[in-house]
């Protein structure tokens, strides 16, 4: 979509990068334009009129002017600041991961309204609910769908047969579940428990409210996280940097108990 010289859009601020002495490059995710980088001039000065309204992980209304290479933010007004992220490191770290996943899984300036809505909804839940990790897993499953990488969970991806309610296998390379009969032939698979399959299906088909009613923790949560990480790594072919930070927090939480 060609942009007008000056235009307005809503956007989620995915990340900041420093530019020069006092400027910032923002990575925005907008419903109309998809991912785009924009410059916020003087946003690192204390008196900046823009900076407070362009915080990372916030939902904001921006006015942009086309620049030579990058567009320039001329006005901004916060819609939702998500204060909870700034008061709780656990929430913030999950939100950062979600933002990174959107940043790394999308090309520039290709709108995907479903992904935008998903991102916003996820941030809202991350700011409020106690089960932040379940929200992140739900986001991952849903993001795979709206990005076009939806894993097949209803039948075996090889033989197309209906799955029997036993432990099956999950293959990131094959794009979904593999049944007992089709496993082998050098295909890399991970054992998939029946409960994990059920939860993954639920996440694929349901609103987050429904998923949050189910108790997902302990080894089951770890199994689901493992499947999704492997799957995301296979389709996106890149590692999320913020996961290492999540792991540091997790290790310290375990050490503290």
């Amino acid at each position: 979509m060609p942009r007008p010289r000056v235009y307005k859009t809503k956007a989620v601020v995915l990340r900041h990068r420093k530019l020069g002495e006092a400027d910032l490059i923002l990575t925005l995710y907008s419903p109309e334009l998809g991912k785009l980088d924009a410059v916020a001039k003087g946003a690192r000065k204390p008196t900046s009129r823009l900076a407070g309204h362009l915080e990372a992980l916030s939902h904001t209304n921006v006015m942009l002017a086309q620049g030579k290479s990058l567009d320039v933010v001329t006005q901004s007004q916060t819609i939702e600041a998500f204060r909870a992220f700034w008061e709780d490191l656990e929430r913030m770290s999950r939100a950062v991961y979600v933002a990174e996943l959107v940043d790394k899984s999308t090309p520039e300036q290709q709108p995907n309204r479903a992904l935008y809505e998903l991102l916003l909804q996820t941030l809202r839940y991350l700011a409020e609910t106690a089960q932040i990790d379940v929200v992140v897993r739900w986001f991952e499953v849903q993001a795979l769908t709206v990005l076009g990488y939806r894993p097949r969970l209803d039948r075996c991806v090889r033989c197309q047969a209906d799955l029997t309610p036993v432990a099956n296998y999950f293959s990131a390379v094959a794009g979904g579940v593999i049944c007992h009969d089709c496993v082998g032939n050098g295909l890399i698979v991970r054992p998939l428990s029946l409960n994990a399959l059920k939860i993954l299906r639920l996440m694929q088909h349901s609103y987050v409210e429904q998923v949050l009613r189910v108790r997902i923790d302990g080894p089951l949560a770890d199994e689901i996280e493992g499947h999704l990480r492997e799957y995301l790594y296979t389709v996106l072919e890149r590692e999320m940097k913020s996961t290492s930070f999540l792991q540091v927090l997790k290790r310290e939480a375990l050490a503290g108990t």
Partner: protein, 203 residues
């Protein structure tokens, strides 16, 4: 076709390339600086080269506060007139300069040399946090002032450190956030305004 295009002499090209590596110096600025140095008196050029070498040879990190210094311990850590009970934790050495300019802090400092940046994969191990914990062991410090920047990375770092120090019986404070001088209420964001209201003061 042979290599017939005119190129600058190798030493000149090398200086351009080296200057180009500096922050804020583009290819054209690098050329301009190089030709300026070419025309400048030899002693000026030597003085510059010497200064660069000295910085690299004589400057180390203070073994106590991790600030850059030419004497170990640095002049702040060595100053007995300062209050050893309060410790101000900053991101970069330049932040100390800014705080010292205010002349209103008489405690000591600790430089982290960076911030936690989950998105860039900078973790606690990349910062001088272990050194901070070591320092607190003596029990001399009773208050920690977290003076990291009020942005995502700075807040993440402040939250992380305060969580880490919770078990120690310390007063942990964070620099106040509010309206800047020369600011404008109309353009202030909600978070800043809320905090400014919360921290309002009797006149």
């Amino acid at each position: 076709m042979t290599n017939s295009i005119y190129t600058t002499a190798a030493p000149v090209a090398r200086l351009i390339e080296e200057l180009h590596k500096l922050p804020g110096i583009g290819p054209k600025s690098a050329q301009r600086l190089t030709y300026h140095l070419l025309r400048a008196p030899a002693e000026d050029a030597r003085a510059l080269a010497q200064a660069i070498l000295e910085v690299k040879e004589k400057i180390t990190l203070c073994s106590i506060c991790q600030n850059v210094t030419d004497a170990d311990p640095c002049s702040i850590c060595d100053d007995h007139g300062r209050d050893s009970a309060s410790l101000c934790v900053v991101e970069e050495p330049l932040d100390i300069l800014a705080l010292e300019r205010t002349r209103s802090f008489k405690g000591r400092y600790h430089v982290l040399h960076g911030v936690l940046s989950p998105m860039d994969g900078t973790g606690p191990g990349d910062l001088k946090i272990q050194e901070l914990l070591e320092r607190l062991r003596s029990g001399e410090v009773t208050e920690i002032i977290l003076a990291t920047n009020p942005n995502l990375e700075g807040e993440a770092t402040a939250m992380y450190i305060s969580r880490l120090l919770k078990p120690l019986d310390l007063r942990i404070t964070r620099l106040a956030r509010g309206l800047p001088m020369g600011g404008d209420l109309e353009y202030a964001d909600d978070v800043t305004l809320t905090r400014a209201l919360e921290g309002r003061q009797e006149v």
